[in-house]
Amino acid sequence: MSGDRLSTRFAACAAQGRAALVTFVTAGDPDLATSAEILAALPGAGADVIEIGMPFTDPMADGPAIQRGNLRSLAAGTTLRKVLAMVTDFRKADDATPIVLMGYFNPLLAFGPERFAAAAKAAGIDGCIVVDLPPEEAGELAPALAAHGLHLVRLATPTTDAHRLPTVLSGASGFLYYVAVAGVTGANSAAATDVAEAVARLKASTSLPIAVGFGVRTPEQAAAIATHADAVVVGSAIVDAIGAAAEERANDIPARVAAQVAALAQAVRTARTEKAA
């Protein structure tokens, strides 16, 4: 699927000789209005790709930071329909930054896979990551996404061995998300050498860009990953900051997030040149 936002953006970053920065925020956290402002501020701050979490009551693969983000969002009345509306608004000002929805299957199933795929495409969404939908169970969603030209992004993990990898890669599109540590989001960081080995192993089997996430919190950690991977995903650190700012009832949450993302972007953009120098 060439010519779409994801492949265009990854190609552009590669042409600049740098990794892409993927930033994750939970939609509607701490509320929809603030969340829309955060979203609008991300590209200018240096986010190359935006991952938007769809809140769920039972986020089993997420650590405490994103769990709390999910609950803040649900408490503020976020629904999938409102998330899609927020993306529709975002697209009025930005038609280039790829947006990937990330979440759990049940809210999509309740919405209806076909209805969801059509609405997501119309809103300007580029792909989905469904945490609890392994390839074996993807048949209920994958055809609907494909029919509307949406990517279903697959996950590889430290437990994905050579026997398992072909199953993960079959039908994968957009990019491959490498979960750097066996664990939940916001957990400990992986050693850069382990990540380098894993990325090399994955690259031998797929031409998809490799994005690395889980346990990447600081600009230094992001830079270390960015020397090896095509993209670096930062999520819990941003969600944590949003939570802390919401706690103190700050009125400049989007500006704070933008500053945090700018520091991450700076580190990611200079990682390979810094290393070479």
Partner: protein
């Protein structure tokens, strides 16, 4: 959905589906482990030494077979069918949960796993897991909702006496479903050495199948026992259902006996017309949670809603996928009993038979009290008495307005 042809006991299919239900909806990190578990279970089933060790432990450690007891005074009181009780409350640790825990810890040992985790609601499965972990000398961590810890102090102490670490789960609603979330989070973080003993016939494949298989000892014994006592099969089976492991354990060996009526009892809490119940078949929709597709209590956006039952063991917003399928094809009839009816069933059994049942099977007793009088005196009911009620006396006292 059309009823399938052939045996109703053949499921699940190769991908763990019972009709549209079941499956393996887990994070990719867990997939290789789930597939490894499946292979290990297939190998164990084919190994006579595994079965022999399981049988030996069930006999000498658990105390099986459990009696099939003719409840004469209850039968007289209700004035209808003859009522037999399958006495799984007489097992070691006081409930059916131990049948499954013994089987799973033998599997864990076979797979070379050195650490055990489990979730628990009321604490019964936690106690059973802590028990087998102690018996086999493996460290054990039990996840329990902080709210349940407050409600079930005696079982928390039992688990600690047995050497388990009890971790309070503060996330979400701080009850059973959150404990299961947290156990899954621990498992995904410690896949290399940890075995997750799931307590009910739910979760990702192969759990619904293997938990069922370990619990079918209940139904296999009951079938042999009733044939010996009465020379024929029963007319009706009744069991209570939360996740549904005691019920599928009793029902499964009878699924192909089409003259045996089978009734499962969900907990309807304060009533099906309120939002405070745990009847995921009567009040839920198909969805995906905790690794399987099944019937779930959820709102229109697919967010999981809170369950309620006076019985902490039935207080779960889902149900095992095989029950969801048996409901869809109509082989098993599912009814419900309210908190009030369960309390009446609880007292009825105390008064007529000198048996204090757990609040979970008290729901089944409530259904028996409703159905038995409509049946002929030569008809036969088997109800599953899956747990004893010592753990519930404080809850019952509070509900009856008694201060202890």
């Amino acid at each position: 959905m059309n009823a399938p042809t052939g045996s109703l006991r053949a499921g699940p299919d190769a991908n763990g589906h019972f009709g549209e239900f079941g499956g393996r909806y887990v994070a990719e990190t867990l997939m290789p482990l789930i597939l490894e578990l499946e292979q290990a279970y297939i190998a164990a089933k084919a190994d006579p030494a595994f079965q022999a060790e399981l049988d030996d432990l069930l006999k000498h450690y658990v105390g099986r077979p459990s009696p099939l007891y003719f409840a004469e005074r209850l039968t007289e009181e209700l004035g209808g069918a003859k009522i037999y009780l399958k006495r799984d409350e007489l097992n070691h640790t006081g409930a059916h949960k131990i049948n499954n825990c013994i089987g799973q810890i033998l599997l864990a040992r076979r797979m070379g796993k050195t650490r055990i985790i489990a979730e628990t609601g009321a604490g019964q499965h936690g106690v059973a897991t802590a028990t087998v972990a102690a018996r086999f000398g493996l460290p054990c961590t039990i996840f329990m909702g902080a709210r349940d810890i407050e409600r079930q102090a005696p079982n928390v102490f039992r688990m600690k006496l047995l050497g388990a670490e009890v971790k309070a789960v503060e996330s979400g609603s701080r009850t059973l479903k959150d404990a299961m979330n947290e156990a899954l989070r621990d498992w995904v973080t410690n896949v290399h050495d940890t075995f997750y003993i799931i307590g009910t016939a739910a979760g990702p494949h192969p759990y619904p199948e293997l938990v069922r298989d370990f619990q079918t000892v209940i139904g296999k014994e009951a079938r042999a026992q009733i044939l010996e006592r009465e020379g024929r099969l029963p007319d009706l089976l009744v069991a209570s259902i939360g996740g549904g492991s005691n019920a599928i354990g009793l029902f499964h060996p009878f699924l192909d006996d089409k003259d045996v009526r089978i009734v499962g009892i969900e907990a309807s809490g304060k009533g099906l017309t309120t939002h405070e119940h745990a009847a995921s078949l009567a009040g839920g929709r198909a969805g995906v949670l905790h690794g399987n597709k099944t019937m779930l209590l959820q709102d229109e956006d697919g967010q999981i809603t809170e369950a309620h039952s006076i019985s902490a063991g039935l207080d779960y917003p889902g149900i095992g996928p095989e029950h969801a399928w048996l409901h869809a094809i109509g082989r098993v009839e599912y009814q419900s009993a309210t908190d009030t009816e369960a309390l009446e069933g609880f007292q009825l059994l105390c008064r007529t038979e000198g048996i204090i049942p757990a609040l979970e099977p008290a729901h089944a007793i409530a259904a028996v009290a409703r159905i038995a009088p409509t049946m002929a005196k030569d008809q036969i009911i088997i109800a599953n008495l899956c747990g004893r009620g010592d753990k519930d006396i404080f809850t019952v006292a509070a509900a009856l307005g008694v201060t202890m």
